[in-house]
Amino acid sequence: MAEKEKEIKGPDSEEENREDALATAQERAARHLKDHGLGEIEQTKITLFLQSTQLAKSVILPKVAYQNMDWLPYKFFHQQFYRNSELSTLLARATKWTLDPFVYMKYWEIASYFSARTDLLKHFSLNFAMNDAAVQLYEFLAFSHALLSEIRTSPLVLDLPENDYTRLLFELEEENGRQIQLQIRLLKGIDLPLSLDEKEEIILSEREKVGAVFQRFLGFLCER
């Protein structure tokens, strides 16, 4: 039998560290849920976090509502806004909420970190005039793309028995896959005075911020 030799090397860049750290945090959270179950506390934590992301994704419509924008992207922004509201309320309905006030108090730390790390207020307060604030719009698109793509809760419940709540988490991600088409098309196709490198830099930066928030949340999820 041939000797088996496995190369084991640690990641050698910041980006690797970030991706690996996030993957490790996800694996740890999935193990935690497998060992301790998806009880009221865990469901509450996940729903609070997902509702925060739904809210953050929803800030765009009021911003673009009065802009001179092509019909098709506007229609999809509109669709995203109402779909987000629908999913957010459905999630609330499917959740077994905990009565433990400390969970909500503790979540406040995550919500604050979310807001600070992603510079959320910037997206709330900006006026996305299509000509002079196009870069900020691009930043928002990159940010919302990261919310839709980086925050993946289905791998956390993969090994758990199916119920309405876990099924909804999968449905939410399916829906994210449809919604993200708007972000993908605009990020790739929008005509802006930015080079490809500059665009990539913005995208990576938003991904990193959202990834850091998700990682912090995963740690919170594992706290007993």
Binding site: K6, E16, S154
Partner: protein, 327 residues
Amino acid sequence: MSYMRYKKHNIYYELNGKRGNPLIVFVNGLTQSTALWGIQTNYLNKIGYQTLTFDLLGQGRSFKPILDINFDENADVLHHLLTHIQVDGAYISGISFGGVTTLQFGIRYPEQCKGLIVMSAFTEMDHRLWQMGVNLYQGLTRVGLNMLLDMLLPMNLSPKYLKEHEEELKALRKLSLARNDLYAIQNLMESINSFESFTPELKKIKVPAIILNGEHDYLTPRWCHELMRLNIINSKLVIVQHAYHAFTIEYPMIINRIFDLFVHEVENDAWRGDQSVWIATDDEDSEDVLFPCEGDHTRAIPISKKRKPKRKTTGDDKTANGKPARG
């Protein structure tokens, strides 16, 4: 866990087996990741091969670009990876999407190829294949990754396998949904938009090449592989009996034995790449892995290659009802 830096991105790879043994590289299909080659790599490591699996840009643990993936870069990534692990030459294998990269690698980096194992691939798209690609893409973007997987499963596997592994496949589907990122798969599919036929370039491939095609593969049917056989001078075409597109999953042991046979023949100077056509055994314990194909392999009905020349119709050939007899 090992990573290589390619441009600004990280490429994840796994290198297993004893250094110095013949190295076989596996290039993933579209929704695949390194883990899905486990049944091949475990077996081949045990019988004395070194194996290398890696995730393409946009797959598994490799970097997932958002703006763009250039399809041609997949071959460049592999070139850098082989240079990175300091290997002079390897046997490059790939399935489907990865089979295309395998061929392109053979054309562009012959100095790093000892041989090619091309499975369920294509070098050009007819309108049917193109339309199927468009449908898969529409399924992914309009409905979601679940739709893409649901469309791919019956294309990839036989009815028998689908029925007998229903529960396993459900779990696999769920796992695939959780592990794959839609935008990254979408990027990979969009990279095919710039795909151009490279059939004429196949003539540049001089290294031994074994081409594997499932008997009932209707995603990349026989004609795709026939083009490869006719254009790669040092090749053999093998038809995998009863198989559809994803025979590495359905007939892993037979495929493992073909890998072993091919590399063994090349390493021992016993390979004869004569563009002949072979049929793979459907019994994984049989002594011979391959036997010659004697019929017309391009047809779905068993017509012998040797046919009588068509007779001229004369008045004598008329049948009792006055119509000419069929030749």
